[in-house]
């Protein structure tokens, strides 16, 4: 039809790198990026709110962070990211560009999760550290960032799995966070033990300074055990997502 241009040949990367870059790009559209940054700003605002609490800065930040940052900001940021890297693509009807390839479902899922985690590491994770700083609690910045990193990573795995299972991934993800984790998880320890919210909160409280004992929940893993628990939860969720991807019915954007 036409002659090949004189441009130097395009560099073609490996499948894993291509998948990673493609997933990172899915978080870049302005509206999506704005939706990711919104909870990050929210996390910093929660840090500012801690200043208004009449308590020591550390205790005030711990109180605000357990509810506001780990209960709302981190899950919402991870939801937007997790949905962007898989669910949104399936809904939009563009996932066939990836799916119709010899690449394994496992590699697709792992690279999507890695990309989502990377985005979380440069958005919500630093935002939680900044929140600690603006709250006047610099000693809690690192524990907050660590807990946000493992929590967000686990949440991204959860929302990828939800995106692979259902087309209404946003609705189901919100339902899981607010009804299952917040509502049922508050009452039932069994649910809290497998909940990224409660486990990331436990990670934070284990390493934070000046933690009010009333905030520590018994019956769920703490410290490094909580980190290991979150890792196990992530692996299981990624396994579910990979299995589901192999059984996906791709019927296009309109269906």
């Amino acid at each position: 039809m036409s002659s090949v241009s004189r441009r130097s040949p395009t560099r073609v990367s490996s499948p894993a790198v291509a998948l990673l870059v493609h997933a990172l790009r899915s978080c870049l559209p302005p509206r999506r990026l704005g939706a990711v940054l919104f909870p990050c700003v929210g996390a910093v605002v929660f840090g500012l709110l801690a200043v208004a609490v009449s308590d020591s800065p550390d205790r005030a930040f711990v109180r605000v962070a357990t509810t506001g940052i780990f209960g709302i900001a981190v899950p919402v940021a991870a939801l937007v990211i997790g949905d962007a890297v898989l669910g949104a693509e399936i809904r939009a009807g563009t996932f066939h560009f990836t799916w119709l390839s010899p690449v394994s479902a496992r590699l697709i899922i792992v690279t999507r999760w890695a990309a989502g985690t990377m985005v979380a590491l440069v958005t919500i994770v630093p935002a939680t550290a900044v929140a600690a700083l603006v709250a006047g609690s610099p000693s809690n910045a690192l524990p907050a960032a660590l807990a946000a990193a493992v929590g967000a990573s686990s949440y991204v795995a959860l929302f990828i799995a939800v995106g692979a299972v259902t087309r209404r991934s946003t609705v189901w993800s919100l339902a899981i966070v607010f009804f299952v984790e917040r509502l049922l998880g508050s009452a039932l320890t069994g649910i809290a033990q497998i909940s990224p919210t409660w486990e990331s909160r436990a990670v934070f409280l284990s390493f934070a300074n000046d933690v009010p004992t009333s905030l520590v929940r018994t019956g769920i893993p703490e410290g490094t055990s909580a980190i290991v628990r979150l890792a196990v939860i992530s692996v299981v969720l990624l396994g579910v997502a990979s299995w589901r991807l192999g059984h996906l019915r791709l019927s296009g954007a309109s269906d």
Partner: protein, 315 residues
């Protein structure tokens, strides 16, 4: 490679690369495909059917995008649903217009190339040039027109060098020049020995590029064979032509005497002529009108749409 040879059953070909065996697909209460069996071999096969006939569902089943509720699909002996290595030989150009956001044409094609382990970057440039998108290769595809998006998807399929290429309504949105180029490309790919399956609901369009035609209606195989066989199958059915004219009773009397006419129905303000020989009728009708000084206001085939023809074909 020689064009596909048809076996005694026109639904099947010798040397088939793609085989569909008793495939049924349903979505809730809606049956999209019902016990459909056929095969495809090297060369261009047109998959023809009216809107909603089940063409897209069949192509999705062929490419493993959906799992048939019943029956099986085999591409080079592999089930694309179970064995992802089938995608080393299989590519699909779907009908959906959707493209990823924030990605240029070159980036998207490079992405698909990378997933298929196509190491040669020249393949990306070749694919872009083949669909004439080199000049806009660095523009974002979400800003492309429908026709350009279609060509990007074709390039994404071509860059994988597929032995089996499945295209779902690929000419939608293409301008006449691009349409001609794409048709030429399909022919060339077929001549190279690839299995090219192209769906369309426009018979005249399919006739321009397909060696063989498979007709699907209401989720079933209605007919299969070369263009002539399909045309004959369709021509063998009576067609209905609406004629609006002055003194229509006189014209009806004249028409009934024609060999080509099977029947004439006189309505309030028009005639409906039944015929199996539309060509003969098309010649005779103006002659009769002229001889009798009857003025013709409208002559229109009532069932000339493909859907009408298909309805006749499967009745």
């Amino acid at each position: 490679m020689s064009p596909t040879e048809v076996t005694s059953d026109p639904a099947f070909v010798t040397g088939a690369t793609v085989t569909v065996t008793d495939v049924s697909v349903w979505f809730g209460q809606v049956v999209a495909l019902s016990g459909l069996s056929c095969s495809f071999g090297p060369g261009v096969t047109g998959l023809l059917g009216p809107n909603g006939a089940g063409k897209t569902t069949l192509l999705r089943a062929l490419t493993g995008m959906i799992d048939p509720n019943q029956g099986s699909v085999s591409v080079w002996g592999l089930d694309p649903r179970r064995d992802r290595s089938a995608f080393t030989r299989l590519a699909l150009v779907p009908e959906d217009e959707a493209v990823p956001p924030m990605v240029s044409a070159r980036q998207l094609i490079s992405y698909v190339a990378a997933l298929h382990r196509v190491r040669d970057g020249k393949a990306v440039e070749w694919a872009l040039a083949t669909v004439e998108l080199t000049d806009v290769a660095d523009r974002r595809v979400d800003g492309f027109s429908k026709g350009m998006r279609q060509r990007v998807k074709v390039a994404c399929a071509l860059v994988t060098n597929p032995a089996v290429l499945v295209l779902d309504e690929p000419l939608n949105g293409a301008d006449p020049v691009q349409r001609a180029h794409l048709i030429d490309l399909f022919r060339r790919l077929g001549d190279e020995g690839r299995t090219v399956i192209v769906s369309s609901h426009i018979l005249a369009e399919v006739e321009r590029f397909a060696d063989r035609i498979v007709v699907v209606t209401r989720g079933r195989l209605a007919a299969a064979g070369n263009q002539r066989a399909i045309r004959e199958a369709m021509d063998d059915r009576p067609r209905h032509v609406l004629v609006r004219a002055d003194r229509q009773r006189d014209l009806a009397a004249a028409l009934i005497g024609l060999d080509a006419t099977e029947g004439v129905t006189v309505e309030d303000d028009h005639l409906v002529v039944s015929t199996r020989r539309t060509g003969d009728l098309a010649v005779a009708l103006p002659r009769l009108a002229r001889e009798r000084s009857i003025r013709l206001h409208e002559v229109r085939a009532l069932d000339d749409s493909l859907e009408g023809l298909f309805r006749e074909l499967v009745r």
